[in-house]
Subunit: 313 residues, 4 copies
C-alpha cells in the first residue's frame, strides 16, 4: 500500500463527492419493497474513517440507510467465530460469476453455495449463526457486533423494511428451500429467513458503517478501542472474499476500478476496506445492473485516484 | 501490507520449501503432451526477488520449466500497451467461476470471454498483440518483454513443446473458432493459435520468472533497472485480474489461502506478486483439479505465513 | 399404426410380464417419503385396456399405487379446459432436457417452465386449475376427472402420502417460490403446493389408470362411455407433450425404445397411449436415473415388440 | 392414424398453400452464406407423396433448394446401417432443448452430443459414415441413398454452397474440434467438416425430397420400388428422433402444432413423415428463431388440419 503521504484526505473526500455528484440519480433504485423505492435517488454520502477513528465525511453521511447485503460481511465474521472452518464444508469461497440471487450453480453444485456473499451463501451463514439458538439471538448478535465494532450503540433494525423484505421475499425463499432440500440449513427455513430479512434491514449511516468496518483494515483489531472481534487470519480472509466476491458478477470490475475489498448492498451502500489505512463507506441509491451503487463506485474511484489507495501497488 | 520487518526472508523461503517438500509428487502432472508428462513430479523450486533484485531461492529454482498460462499475464500487458482500453470491448474482467478451457460462458455471452486469463480471453489478447503484425512478431514481443523485464536475455521458446501443444490443441482450436465465429478474432485462427501455443511454450526458471515479474510489485517500474514496461495504472489492474481470475475456478480459494495476486500455469509454475515488496515464483509439476501447482500453493501459504505478506492486511 | 391384426393381446401381455419379471427389483425405489420407500420392489403390474373397455392384465394390476407425476397429464387436461391457450403464456411446450425438478432453466427463462410435465410446469398448471377457486376444489376436480374418465368411483387421495410429500417437499417449495417470484403463480404458494402434493398422492391401480387414460387413445372421447372430457385437438396435443416431455431427460430414449406417448411417475407407474388402439399402464417401483420405472419400460418394450404398436410406423 | 378417408388430398395441399401464401416472406432468410441469402424469400413449394408414389404438389415444388440439415436424417440412416447401435455410444438420443449449434451441453456432457440431429451430433454421425473411408465416399453414399430412395438420379451437391459453408463454418469448426478433443471423431476434423458441409449443400426439390423420404412412412421399405434401405426398427427410430429432436429447441412446439415427425433445414425445407400414409416436403426460405421455415410450418399445420394426419390420434 503506497499511500501518497502528503495526501489531503479532506480534499480527497471532497473530490470524491464532486466526482459522484453529477452521477447521483443515475442507475436504478431498488424497488421491490416500498421502503427502498421511496428513498430520494439524489442522496449521496461518504465517510472515511482512519486509524485514529476520525471520520472525514461529505454529503448525507449521517443519514441512516438500509445496509442490506453489507450485513453479510458481519454475519460471516460471526459465523466464522462460531463454527470456524466448518463453515467451508457448507459454503464455498469462489466468485460465482452470477447474479446475487442466482440459483443455477446451487443446483449444479448440489446445494453448496459458491461463496458467503451471494444470497444463497449468506442464508447458510445466517443459519450457522443461528446455530442452536433462535433467529432473534442471531439478529441480536449482529447488532451487538455492529454496535461494539462501531463504538456506537445506535444501530437498529428497521422493522418496516424487514417485514416488507419478507413479504417480497419469494426469490430468497426459493433459495432457502433449495438449500434446505440439500440439507444445507439446520434450522427451519422460515427461521433462517426471519433472521436474514432482519439483518438486511439494519439501518446505519455511512459514518457508522465505516466506523464499524475499521477493524477489517487493521487485521481484525480496532485501532481506537483495541477491541478485536475477529482474529487477524479471519480479517484477512473476509477481505479476500470481499475482493473476489463482494459485488456478485461485478466483483472483477470493482476490483479492477477501485482496487479495494468492498461489499455492496441494494440499499445503495458500499463498504470498502483500505488495509492498514482506513475504512470507507459511500451511499447513493441508484444501482448498476449488478446491484452496486453507481455513484458510490464512481466516488470510490475518485477517492483512490487521489489517495493512491489500492491493495495492488 | 504489514511486513514483519524482522522477518528472515531466507528462513521463510526455507520454511516454504520444507512445507512443500512433503507434498511434492501429489496432484496430477499435466499429461496432454509428452514434454510436460515426462517432467519429474518431484521437482520443486522457489525464488523470491525483492526490491534490490536479489533472489532468495531454494530447490530447483534454476531449472527452466514451461511457463504455460503465466505467459497470459505478460501478453495482457502487451495488449494493453497496444490497444489500451479497447481491449475491454473484446474481453471482460470478471472471474468466470469456470475451468480454464470452458466454452459455456462464451456461448451465453456471445463470444466475449469473461477475462483475459482464461484460455478464451487469452486467445483474444494474443490476437490483439498480433494486431496488424504477424504471429512471429507477437511471440518476439513477448520474449523481448520477458528478457527486458527480467534483465536476462536467456528466455526461449521450447519449440518441441509448442509443436506438441498445437498437435494436442483441439480444445483451444475449438475456443478459437468459436471466438472467430463471433468476430472476436481479427487474425486467421491458425495464426492466433500459432502465437498462443508458442507463448505457452516459453521456458523459464523460477529465478527468471520472479525477476521478470518484479515490476508488477512496484507499480510497473522495475526498482533495479528503472525500466517501466507498463504504467502504474496497468500494473495495478493486471494485479487485480491476477487476484480475481488468475487461477480459474480456484481463484477465490487462492486469494483466501495465499492473499496475493498470482497466476498459475499447467507446467506447475505460479507467479505471485507482493505489492511494494517482492515477486515470487514457485514451481512443482503436480496440479490440483483447477490446474494450480499443489505443492506450489502450499509453499506460498507457508511463505506468507512467515512473512506476513498479504494484500489484505 | 400398423397393428399386427392377428396378435394375441393376452399372449403379448404375458410376454411383457415375462420380459419384465427378471428386472423387478432393479433400479431404485423412491425413498424420499416413507410411504413410497416401503413399497415392495418386486411388485409388477400391467393392464392394457382396448377400445371395448376390456382390460387384459397381469401381475399386480389391481393393487393401488401412488400415481405421482402421472397426475400431471390429467391436471393439464383440466387446465386446458379451464384457460385454453392462455396456459401457453405461462408454460412452454418444449422438452427441457433436464431432470424433473431442475430449476436452472427456470432462472434462465425468467420463471416460465419449459413444459407442463416437469415439476415447475406442473405447479403452474395446478395453479391454473385452482384459478379463482380453492386447492380443495382443484383436487376434487382431478378426482372427478379420473373417476369419470375411468368409469370407476373408487379413486382416492392417499392422505398419508400427501402429508409426507409436503413434509419432504423443500425442492418443490423452492420451485414454487421461484415461480411466484416471477409472478407465475396467481394463488398463494402453499395453496398451490397443497393441491400439488395431493394430486401426486392419488392412489390407483394399473387397471384403473389404463382405463382412465383410454380417451387419450381415441381423440379425447371414451369409446365405451362416449364421454369426451377433452376435445380431439387437446387430446392430440396432450399426447404430443407426453411423447416429447413425459419422461424428463429420458423422454427421447423412451420415444426411441417404446415409440408411444407416455408419462412416468416416481411411484413406479407409467401410462402409455396407443392412439386408435389402447391405453396401457405398467407399474414396478424400481426407477432408472430419470425416475422412470425400469421394469415397467422393459415391459412396454416387450409389449410393443409383440403388438407392433408404435406411432412411428 | 385416423385419416379422414374422404379427404381430397389435392384440395388439402391447395389449402396448405393458401394458408402459407400470406406468410411467405415472413421470418428471416439464412444469410451467413451468399448462396442462401440471395434466395427469393417469396418462394414456397409443397409436395405430398403417397403410397402409390404419386406426388400432389403446389407452388415451387420442382425448384431445387439447399436441403441443409435435412441431410442429417439420411446420414443417420447410413450411420446406423454402418455401425448399428454402437452409434449410441457416441451420440445420445435426447432432445437438447438448445439451439442447433449450441456447445454448452457438449462441455457438460464431455463431448457426447445430445442427439444426431443437432450439429454436434450430426458431425459425429458423419464421422461414423466416413468410417475407414474418405469424405468423398461418404458424400457419394449419401447421394446414392437419396437417388435410390427417391428413385431419381438427379440429386447433386451444390459446390458453391459447400465452399461457402466451409468458409463461413467457424461455429461448426469449433464444434468439430470440441468433439475431437474428447476423442469423439475418428477422422481428421477437416475431413469430417468437408463431408458435412457437402451433405448440407445437397440440392433437391420438394418433390424429390418427399419422394426420397417415403420409405420412412412405410417402415423403411419404399411402397413403390420395394427397396428397403433401412430396417423397420431403424425407420421407426429415425422417426422418433425426428419427432423429439428434429427442430432443435422448437421440436416440442412442432410436435404440438403439426403432430408428425419432421426435420427442418435452414434452407427453408421441412421433411415430414406421415407413418402409413405419406411423406411431405415444404419449402419456404423465411425461418423462425429456431431455424424452422415459418411459412412451411404453417402449411403443414393447415395440411394436417384438413387431412387429420397426426401420430397422436
Amino acid at each position: 500500500m503506497m499511500l501518497k503521504r502528503d495526501v489531503d484526505l479532506k480534499a480527497a473526500v471532497e473530490a470524491a463527492w464532486a466526482a459522484a455528484a453529477a452521477h447521483r440519480g443515475e442507475g436504478k433504485v431498488a424497488s421491490y419493497i416500498p421502503a427502498l423505492a421511496r428513498v430520494d435517488p439524489m442522496k449521496f454520502g461518504i465517510a472515511v474513517v482512519t486509524r485514529s477513528g476520525e471520520a472525514i465525511v461529505a454529503g448525507d453521511a449521517d443519514e441512516a440507510f438500509s445496509i442490506q447485503s453489507i450485513s453479510k460481511v458481519f454475519m460471516l465474521a460471526l459465523a466464522l467465530n462460531r463454527i470456524q472452518a466448518m463453515l467451508w464444508e457448507r459454503v464455498g469461497r469462489e466468485p460465482s460469476g452470477s447474479a446475487f440471487n442466482s440459483i443455477v450453480q446451487l443446483e449444479v453444485e448440489k446445494g453448496k453455495p459458491r461463496n458467503p456473499l451471494i444470497n444463497a451463501g449468506a442464508l447458510a451463514v445466517t443459519d450457522a449463526v443461528i446455530g442452536d439458538g433462535s433467529p432473534d439471538e442471531a439478529v441480536a448478535a449482529l447488532l451487538d457486533y455492529l454496535r461494539s465494532a462501531g463504538d456506537d450503540g445506535a444501530v437498529l433494525t428497521d422493522d418496516e423494511v424487514a417485514t416488507s423484505e419478507s413479504e417480497a421475499g419469494a426469490r430468497n425463499r426459493s433459495l432457502a428451500y433449495f438449500l434446505s432440500a440439500f440439507g444445507n440449513l439446520r434450522n427451519p427455513v422460515e427461521d433462517v429467513l426471519s433472521a436474514y430479512f432482519r439483518q438486511c434491514a439494519t439501518a446505519m449511516s455511512c459514518r457508522q458503517l465505516a466506523r464499524a468496518g475499521l477493524h477489517l483494515a487493521f487485521d481484525g483489531r480496532d485501532p481506537v478501542t483495541e477491541r478485536a472481534p475477529i482474529t487477524p487470519s479471519r480479517s484477512r480472509r473476509i477481505n479476500s472474499l470481499m475482493l473476489t466476491c463482494g459485488h456478485y458478477d461485478n466483483s472483477g470490475d470493482f476490483a479492477f476500478r477501485v482496487g479495494l475489498p468492498g461489499k455492496s448492498g441494494v440499499g445503495g451502500g458500499i463498504l470498502a476496506i483500505v488495509p492498514g489505512e482506513a475504512s470507507v463507506c459511500v451511499w447513493s441509491p441508484g444501482l448498476n445492473a449488478a446491484g452496486t451503487s453507481l455513484a458510490g463506485a464512481i466516488a470510490l474511484e475518485a477517492l483512490v485516484e487521489r489517495t493512491g489507495w489500492t491493495v495492488f501497488a
